[in-house]
């Protein structure tokens, strides 16, 4: 089936000029411009959609920060939309804000931008395939995001507002609509949206796995794959194995809410004088199921960035990746261990404390592959010939920030310390260092790096660096401070914590963080302007503007339909930079071997 559906756009292309005299039906317009099956277009569709959501999520975060810094004061701009009677942000709206900030950022930005946008765009290009294995499925994986977009977007405007039980959606707060305004229609829409995101990811991951396994160019062995592809491959595996659990759990919660099954509500638990369901369930069951997906999801959210950063860094250090195989194994190790550490989100949840010990050990162990990766990145920089392009700066900052995010994780893995810092801003600092300072920086790096391939033009380097500099400064101003707030025990998710004497004096510090956050969002305007300007007016890029090695750089920029005008044949791995005896400092994967050149075994 896939062959048939795939070939149709190709055929129509060749037929089009001949039939130009005859007006084409609307369906052609749709299949060319909207329901495209070209992996690059789908990737860009993902990219644009997620960037819009990135903006929305960022604004939500600003509103959250505003309330944390100056509780109950009028929120500028956004306040117009959602203020309660009297112009102030109501606490239920605040809970909705941080819930939707997390939801949007995780499910509509990070996961789709990594797997959806870059996965789609890069996988066929980097392995030398003309398209994905299942183009229709691929198209569907994008369009299945739309019900999710609509569900999440619409949920803001239904009665009671959007979901407001945190992105973790812990029952019974979520299973009983009487528990919170956002647990009404908003939560149902949240679950529906989540399901569609899941379907989309699943379609994507099936496609990626098949494509990577079956459609590599001649000579492209598994151990000649760039790290990006390895990361995408393992991410796809993670998704394929973890997602069904979340989807099942989501349906269970939906049933709890709609037909009173009571998977997650215990016997006789009352909310607002209404029974929470049939009983016989356990709230902790949801936590287990949810984190069984969502902990691996944390790696889904960073592994592709790690892969892309490895590729960018080798290119601009002009040096082979230090320890290619250990890097691959550590990604696999992170993924494998990722399945057995979910309990560290639940140390104080009421789960058997003995389980806490085992999860603590496995969690400590996951620091290993992360450490290996960090050291190997440092090793890659060592002895390199570093070019400070914007993409490189973002990649280096990824490593720098990932060190912070990784190390702060050890505090939480230590169960006794976790008793104190659980659910405080220490956690917030930790995951923002991993997901924002880590992944988002990686994503920016990747955008600057592959932009020429996407649009045939390069982004402005000067403004790119300004963007990097400001983002880097503000990001650390915002998130590093959170560590010490966490050390005071400042809890997450409080609309107003200052009536607690313990936290009363932290307001100025929060105000500082909010100023930084505002700066951080504001300087994204530079990025947006640069992005759109360069798309049309940026300097034209050739096929290989960075003198990089990957297969994608052998295709035209931007690649046409079918990607390669010449069948790429792969002779070596992707990191052969500065090969002794070679005239240029890079040796592309497709460059035929030259007599006498010394290249490492793989």
């Amino acid at each position: 089936m896939s062959t048939v559906t795939h070939s149709s756009p190709g055929e129509s292309t060749t037929v089009a000029p001949a039939s130009a005299a005859k007006p084409r039906p609307v369906s052609e317009f749709l299949s060319t411009y909207v329901f495209s099956k070209d992996h690059k277009v789908i990737g860009l569709q993902f990219l644009f959609s997620t960037l819009v959501w990135f903006l929305i999520g960022g604004l939500l975060a600003l509103a959250v920060r505003w309330q944390v810094a100056w509780p109950w004061s009028d929120v500028p701009v956004l306040g117009k939309l959602f203020a309660q009677e009297g112009g102030q942000m109501s606490p239920e709206f605040y809970t909705m804000l941080f819930t939707m900030h997390a939801t949007v950022m995780i499910f509509l930005v990070i996961i789709p931008i990594l797997a959806g946008a870059f996965g789609n765009f890069l996988i066929p290009l980097m392995i030398g395939a003309d398209d994905m294995a299942f183009p229709t499925l691929n198209m569907l994986s994008y369009w299945f995001m739309w019900p999710a977009f609509i569900a999440f977007g619409a949920s803001f405007f239904v009665e009671g507002g959007a979901a407001s039980s945190g992105w973790t959606s812990y029952p019974p707060l979520t299973t009983n609509p009487a528990a919170s305004p956002g647990s009404g229609m908003g939560q149902t829409l949240w679950l529906i949206g989540l399901t569609f995101v899941g379907v989309s990811s699943m379609l994507g991951s099936v496609n990626y796995m098949t494509t990577i396994i079956l459609m590599r160019a001649p000579g492209m062995t598994m151990f000649r794959l760039p790290m990006t592809i390895w990361a995408m491959f393992i991410t796809a595996l993670l998704q394929a194995f973890a997602l069904p659990v979340l989807t099942a759990a989501g349906f269970m919660q939906l049933f709890d809410r709609s037909i009173g099954t009571g998977f997650f509500s215990p016997e006789g638990s009352m909310i607002n004088n209404e029974l929470t369901g049939a009983g016989g369930g356990q709230p902790l069951l949801w936590q287990h199921l949810f984190w069984f997906y969502s902990h691996p999801a944390v790696y889904i959210m960073i592994l592709p960035a790690m892969g892309m950063v490895s590729d960018i860094m080798t290119c601009f250090a002009r040096k082979p990746l230090f320890g290619y195989r250990p890097m691959v194994y550590s990604i696999a190790g992170i993924a494998g261990l990722g399945f057995i550490v979910w309990g560290h989100h639940m140390f104080i949840s009421g789960m058997n404390p003995a389980l806490g010990m085992t999860f603590m050990v496995s969690t400590m162990m996951i620091a290993l592959p992360s450490a290996v990766k960090t050291f190997n990145w440092l090793g890659t920089l060592w002895g390199g010939r570093i070019q400070f392009t914007t993409a490189m700066l973002f990649s280096v900052s990824f490593v720098s920030m990932f060190i912070i995010g990784g190390l702060s994780g050890i505090f939480m893995a230590a169960t006794p310390v976790d008793i104190f810092i659980h659910d405080t801003y220490f956690i917030v600092a930790h995951f923002h260092y991993v997901l924002f300072a880590g992944t988002a920086m990686g994503v920016w790096g990747a955008i600057y790096f592959w932009f020429p391939k996407m649009f045939g033009r390069t982004m402005n380097e000067f403004w790119g660096k300004v963007h990097f500099f400001l983002t880097f400064i503000f990001l650390n101003g915002t998130f590093f401070t959170m560590h010490i707030l966490g050390a005071v025990g400042f809890p997450r998710r409080l609309a107003d914590a200052y009536h607690y004497e313990t936290f009363h004096h932290l307001q100025p510090m929060n105000a500082f963080m909010t100023y930084c956050a505002i700066g951080m969002v504001a300087c994204q305007a530079i990025f947006a302007a640069n992005f759109f300007w360069s798309m049309f007016y940026g300097p034209k890029a050739g096929r290989n503007p960075w003198n990089s090695n990957g297969l994608e750089w052998t295709a035209p920029s931007p690649p046409g339909h079918g990607n390669f005008d010449v069948q790429p044949i792969v002779y070596r791995g992707p990191y052969e930079y500065s090969v002794p005896g070679c005239e240029k400092d890079h040796l592309m994967q497709t460059d035929p071997p030259v007599e006498g050149m010394v290249v490492a075994a793989h």
């Binding site: 603590m360 060190i403 190390l407 169960t415 659980h422 936290f503």
Partner: protein
């Protein structure tokens, strides 16, 4: 040469990360943005473990960030002239070293703290509950067992939000939730435990100093989560008994109290 300046600029930016990072943690205690005062017997263990991990991660943090800085400072293309990058694919020895050292450290860390964890969450003191705390949206309902020491008898004392415990004694709290998840968080006693509907979870600690401290809800429990504020009063045995007695008398009132007592 302009390129070299750029390299210096960016290297220093990355140098700022460890410098300012360590700086923030060094200054924080002096501006009172640091661990709140500990008044529990087990808190010292948590704090010392926190400091231990802080030192450990601090060292790793400084070393790796300094290496990062040094590499981008030194291996800037502009600084290397015509020299090519080193053509090296890795080092087996190094990989082994930097796998084993963290592994050993991490294992040590995990085993080192197991005892502390067991003390705080697994080795429950054998005694009747001092008080039952029932969390609900958005308050802490307290039930003291009354003179007979048993919960669920007519002499139970019912209170709200205002938790009192005697100092220097083992306290066993029976934690429940009526509706959704809550978390019983005493920052000054380094104690946190989720309250789960349908479960009776024991929480124990021993307070070492008298005083009044915050009782915070740390698990999102709905729109009013932020206002679910309680207070713990740690007082001497005599004061505690007198307080219990007074509260019990109040609960058994058969005549109105004078107005000034209510206000």
């Amino acid at each position: 040469m302009r390129n070299r300046l750029a390299g210096i600029f960016w290297s220093i930016l990355f140098l700022a990360v460890p410098v300012l990072g360590v700086g923030v943690f060094a200054i924080a205690p002096s501006i009172d943005v640091w661990l709140p005062k500990d008044v529990s017997s087990h808190g010292k263990e948590i704090d010392s473990l926190f400091y231990f991990i802080l030192a450990l991660t601090g060292i790793v943090f400084i070393v790796t960030e300094m290496l990062l800085f040094w590499f981008i400072w030194k291996y800037d293309a502009a600084a290397r002239g015509d020299e090519k990058a080193t053509y090296i694919h890795g080092s087996h020895t190094l990989e082994v070293i930097w796998t084993i050292i963290p592994a050993v450290t991490m294992l040590f860390l995990a085993i080192y703290q197991m005892n502390a964890w067991a003390d705080m969450k697994m080795r429950r003191p054998v005694m009747k509950p001092t008080v039952e705390v029932v969390a609900r949206q958005f308050e802490w309902r307290l039930r003291y067992p009354g003179p007979d020491g048993d919960l669920g008898t007519p002499d139970d004392l019912f209170l709200v939000n205002d938790l009192h415990v005697p100092v220097d004694e083992d306290i066993l709290i029976q934690l429940k939730s009526m509706d959704v998840l809550h978390s019983f968080f005493l920052p000054n006693l380094r104690m946190k435990q989720d309250a789960v509907p349908g479960m009776k979870i024991p929480v124990w600690f021993k307070a070492t100093e008298t005083g009044q401290y915050d009782l915070v809800c740390a698990e999102l429990c709905g729109w009013g989560h932020y206002k679910m504020k309680g207070r713990i009063t740690i007082e001497s045995r005599e004061d505690y008994d007198a307080w219990l007695e007074a509260k019990y008398r109040e609960q058994e009132a058969t005549q109105p109290e004078p107005m000034d007592e209510i206000l």
